[in-house]
Subunit: 200 residues, 2 copies
Amino acid sequence: MALAYDGPVQRLIDGFAGLPGIGPKGAQRIAFYLLSASDDEAQALADAIREVKQKVRFCEICGNVCEASPCPICSDPRRDRSVVCVVEEPKDVMSIERTREFHGLYHVLGGAINPMANIGPSDLAIPKLLDRLKSDEVEEIILALDPNIEGEATVTYLSRLLSPLKIKVTRLASGLPVGSDLEYADEITLGRALQGRREA
Amino acid sequence: MALAYDGPVQRLIDGFAGLPGIGPKGAQRIAFYLLSASDDEAQALADAIREVKQKVRFCEICGNVCEASPCPICSDPRRDRSVVCVVEEPKDVMSIERTREFHGLYHVLGGAINPMANIGPSDLAIPKLLDRLKSDEVEEIILALDPNIEGEATVTYLSRLLSPLKIKVTRLASGLPVGSDLEYADEITLGRALQGRREA
């Protein structure tokens, strides 16, 4: 016997091993799980993959995922059109929606500036953002990027780019996560929390 | 906007979140990866899931996964029919094949005895194992079960069950993993390594 699985099993393992966050062992575990799962469960997963590729589009205005473009947020008349929250990925839209603290519109960049991965400003939805700002409707841009090197680089780039436009540009506060323990905070986070201290 | 994704995206996230080793965040990451992936890549994964459910069977003799039953190992005339290695899952067959140290046949139990999960001897391929032993061909049974509570319980159960049959019943050696560090070995493993010490 060869030291790899028979064709279909190996193809399934390879398919899962190509997904983010799944290694070869995890892929094998999932493949054998699906082998023992009911036909309905496996079929449902295969259908969900096909369906999402067929039906899901990106909103022509904000770049969020949606079934119909413009997306429900861009076409909702109750949303505040004067504030645009710039995020890296569609999943960040959902994270911010879950806070129920934001009622404006979004703009999904599709990533962050990352010279190491050869991702520059032209690879992101930045020209589209500038187009949206031409309408004079927008008064504030909230840069809600990931608090890591790539996110910081993108925030710096965008705040310089937007400064001539006389639009208020803000960014998310850095500090201690709610419910965390001061003892376990890293120095940089604690330093930012000190810099950004407020009156109690 | 609702605080869940549109239908197809949420169905895909739910589908992945139901797989072993994938949590809700990981499922979301995979779903968005597939959304941005090429149609071909997504299609290949959906096809691999369908294909494996359509084509892959379990060997009627040993219970291993295969495209044709009996499996290539059971039908290989060069394999030593006097030794049967009993494992929990089909993936364990592959792990042992990769050692290139074993040339006998396998028997896949389909799990281990686990009273907490309501898995008893009758839920495993134990009657099938006893049937195979009726032929007098088998001289040794190697119990290659996982070295955890359930595996140990199954080893104890099987060695008692097989003792009247006058077949040699062996089990895998416990001890320090090759390439590991004595300092980081847990007490039980180190104790087993001491008990099983050999002349150097």
